[in-house]
């Protein structure tokens, strides 16, 4: 069904990503698909890494540690951005093409009023790609 599953990863906010990461790994196992982790970094030192190269290594290490052992080696792909906060959607769209992903699994927040002004990345990505997009919400409040 799916051959290549792409997961955008923000190494600075891993706690919020636990659920989408698990979903992606489960799907990869089920469909025997290759996982590709995509990260975005800046030239400037950030909370995660002090150089772009440093970031790439961290993402690779992360990919090795999180992908399921289903016979398909995971890949990690790093994009450099001048302004990651605003460029994220475009980068994810570009990554889908570059990677050749047929499914994107990404975390997203619950819908809220501010979305009208600053739309969530997930919905924007879904509107502009031919790949399937799986938006993983955080757990419902009880």
């Amino acid at each position: 069904m799916f051959k290549k599953i792409m997961v955008p990863v923000d190494l600075a906010h891993l706690d919020a990503l636990e659920k989408p990461l698990t979903v992606a790994a489960d799907l990869a196992r089920h469909y025997e698909a290759t996982l590709c982790y995509v990260g975005v970094t800046t030239s400037q030192p950030s909370a995660v890494a002090r150089t772009p190269e440093d970031y790439e290594q961290k993402l690779k290490a992360f990919a090795m540690g999180h992908a399921p052992d289903n016979g398909h080696e995971p890949t990690a792909c790093v994009y450099n951005s001048h302004d990651p906060v605003t460029d994220l959607d475009d980068i994810i769209l570009k990554a889908i093409k570059d990677v050749g992903a047929d499914l994107v699994v990404m975390g997203t927040h619950l819908p809220k009023h501010l979305d009208a002004l600053i739309p969530a990345n997930g919905s924007k990505v879904a509107a502009h790609t031919a790949a399937s997009v799986f938006l993983v919400r955080p757990d419902m409040p009880a």
């Binding site: 600075a12 800046t42 030239s43 400037q44 030192p45 950030s46 909370a47 002090r50 150089t51 190269e53 440093d54 290594q57 961290k58 690779k60 290490a61 992360f62 540690g65 450099n80 001048h82 302004d83 990651p84 906060v85 605003t86 460029d87 809220k112 009023h113 501010l114 600053i118």
Partner: protein
């Protein structure tokens, strides 16, 4: 290089320990993690990520200042004016001396072997094309000032130089002429006027920007420290920059940037309003000013939300094209030959007068050296954290030499050309008997001179658009910079924060414009230049120290 492998071992990801692929950079070994002192909140669904101390103290200081100025307009204006005047009359030598140090350091680095070091490590590649990079440097650096002073400064110096010197009470000179003036000598006065103007817009201001930008770049890209002003104090203060000494430096930077921007918004709105009044007969009252500032701020916020690539970069490029067209228009429609020969004559005049204009000691042209030169130096310096940080943000991957040539020599040359084109045209008009520009308000002089040339409506309109767009780019890049500093060096802090700063700039400009606090604001912005000069001098030390500790690439 070895510094990189012995980082904290508790982080499991780190332990993969591949050696730094970037090779030729020398990261500073620190335990500080960017964002470790930050607060991350989500009030009302808006994500916020700020450096607690820097954000809180600078916001409170700014609020207190605005309230104070609006509540006690007369007293506060008097107090701030007194502060500014004291700085002008007592610290002139310090500003002039420091300015010369910056120029000499930059020129030295261009020719020294240290110039071969690449910002971001030996294998780093530039993030932006040369043309976009240069457009952004220029738009952030002085775009707006060239619009405002391109005509008015040469005209003013020409007038005072022609008027000769005069003695006031107590033996001090009461005239505003530069150096020894050129009484009743129109050619000499024009030469002196152009040399003085170029002095204020040439090597010195760009050396100030270059110093801040280069020191920040080295400590962010080559040393791995956060992109914030405190990082350049690392060689001096070491790990203490993460504590209150560092907070204080960053707060000062925020303060200088915000007030510099708000002042310029106010002044720029006045020039745009003068232009609109001149062109369309729209009244230049407070309503127009408020609408203009609100409009500029709104466009700036859109540009902020669009991001660096789609916002400020695109606007800077548009402006570059417009400014180039306006310049070419003046060159070809104005006295073409005079401008062409004047360009070289003015450079020669500038270089001959430079030692005297830049001399910090024993000046007898007190009004000129204090009222003009010191004012400019303080002004450039109070803008330098903002321009410098912005330049640093877009300059990774350039070699130090390339960086300095592009930030120092090329913009200076463009400034000379711009000033020559507009100044020569204005002075020639005056010599031919057109007194309209010289006697008009400073903010109107550009439009008066354009009015004497053909196609006035089109060129004046382009002039107004340029003023407005230059302000949008300043407000945009300024908000990015303030946001980065108040987020402890994070450049990927949530978007609403940038919008917040953009709106605050506009609000302060409006509040102080209506409350009559613009003069106070300007005085404060200039006063902030004094402590920041010391920051810059530390920056010089840090540049040399930082570059010396970098592995030097082989010849070639």
């Amino acid at each position: 290089m070895d510094n990189k492998s012995d980082k904290s071992s508790e982080d499991p990801i780190e332990s993969v320990g591949v050696p730094a692929p970037e090779g030729a950079a020398n990261l500073i070994d620190t335990d500080y993690h960017i964002g470790q002192d930050n607060y991350q909140l989500s009030p009302l669904g808006v994500n916020i990520d700020i450096h607690g101390a820097v954000f809180a103290v600078s916001s409170l200081l700014i609020l207190a200042f605005v309230v104070l100025t609006l509540a006690l307009p007369e007293q506060s204006t008097a107090a701030f004016d007194a502060m500014k005047n004291w700085i002008n009359s007592h610290m002139t030598w310090f500003f002039l001396l420091a300015g010369n140090i910056f120029v000499l350091l930059c020129l030295f680095l261009i020719v020294s072997p240290l110039g071969r070091i690449r910002i971001g490590g030996a294998k780093a590649t530039p993030d932006f094309s040369r043309l976009s990079w240069f457009s952004m440097l220029f738009a952030a650096g002085m775009g707006i000032g060239l619009m405002f002073y391109g005509v008015s400064e040469p005209l003013t110096h020409y007038g005072t130089a022609l008027g000769g010197t005069s003695m006031g009470e107590g033996g001090a000179r009461s005239d505003w002429a530069p150096l020894g003036a050129a009484v009743d000598d129109p050619a000499g006065a024009a030469r002196l006027a152009m040399a003085s103007t170029i002095f204020h817009w040439g090597l010195h201001p760009w050396a100030i920007y270059a110093t801040v930008a280069l020191s920040l770049s080295i400590f962010a890209y080559n040393k791995g420290l956060p992109l914030t002003v405190r990082s350049i104090f690392y060689p001096l203060l070491g790990e203490r920059i993460w504590g209150w000494p560092g907070h204080a430096i960053d707060i000062l930077a925020v303060f200088a940037t915000l007030f510099g921007l708000a002042t310029s918004l106010g002044v720029g709105a006045q020039q745009a309003a003068s232009g609109l009044e001149y062109l369309f007969g729209i009244g230049g009252g407070n309503t127009t000013l408020v609408l203009l500032i609100a409009g500029i701020t709104a466009v700036a916020v859109v540009s902020i939300v669009a991001g660096v690539d789609k916002g400020v970069k695109r606007l800077s490029e548009i402006n570059m094209v417009l400014a180039f067209l306006l310049l070419m228009f003046v060159v070809f429609v104005g006295p073409t030959l005079l401008i062409a020969t004047g360009f070289f004559k003015n450079i020669a005049g500038y270089l001959t007068e430079l030692p005297f204009l830049a001399n910090p000691f024993g000046r007898d042209d007190a009004n000129f050296s204090q009222g003009w030169t010191t004012f400019y130096w303080a002004w450039w310096i109070s803008w330098s954290p903002f321009v410098g940080m912005f330049i640093a943000r877009v300059s990774r991957g350039r070699s130090v030499r390339e960086f300095l040539i592009s930030v120092l020599l090329i913009p200076s040359t463009v400034s000379v050309f711009w000033m020559t084109a507009f100044g020569t045209t204005a002075i020639k008009q005056l010599q031919e008997g057109f007194e309209g520009a010289a006697s008009a308000d400073l903010s109107l002089q550009l439009f008066m001179v354009l009015g004497e040339l053909p196609l006035t409506e089109i060129t004046s309109f382009i002039g107004i658009v340029l003023v407005i767009v230059f302000f949008v780019t300043s407000s945009d890049s300024g908000s990015l910079v303030i946001d980065t500093i108040t987020a402890g060096g994070k450049i990927d802090a949530p978007k609403p924060q940038r919008v917040f700063w953009g709106v605050i700039e506009g609000a302060i400009a409006i509040a102080l414009l209506l409350g009559g606090g613009l003069a106070a604001l300007q005085a404060v912005a200039v006063s902030a230049g004094l402590p920041f000069t010391m920051v810059l001098l530390v920056g010089c030390y840090a540049i040399v120290k930082g570059l010396m500790s970098e592995p030097r690439p082989g010849t070639g």
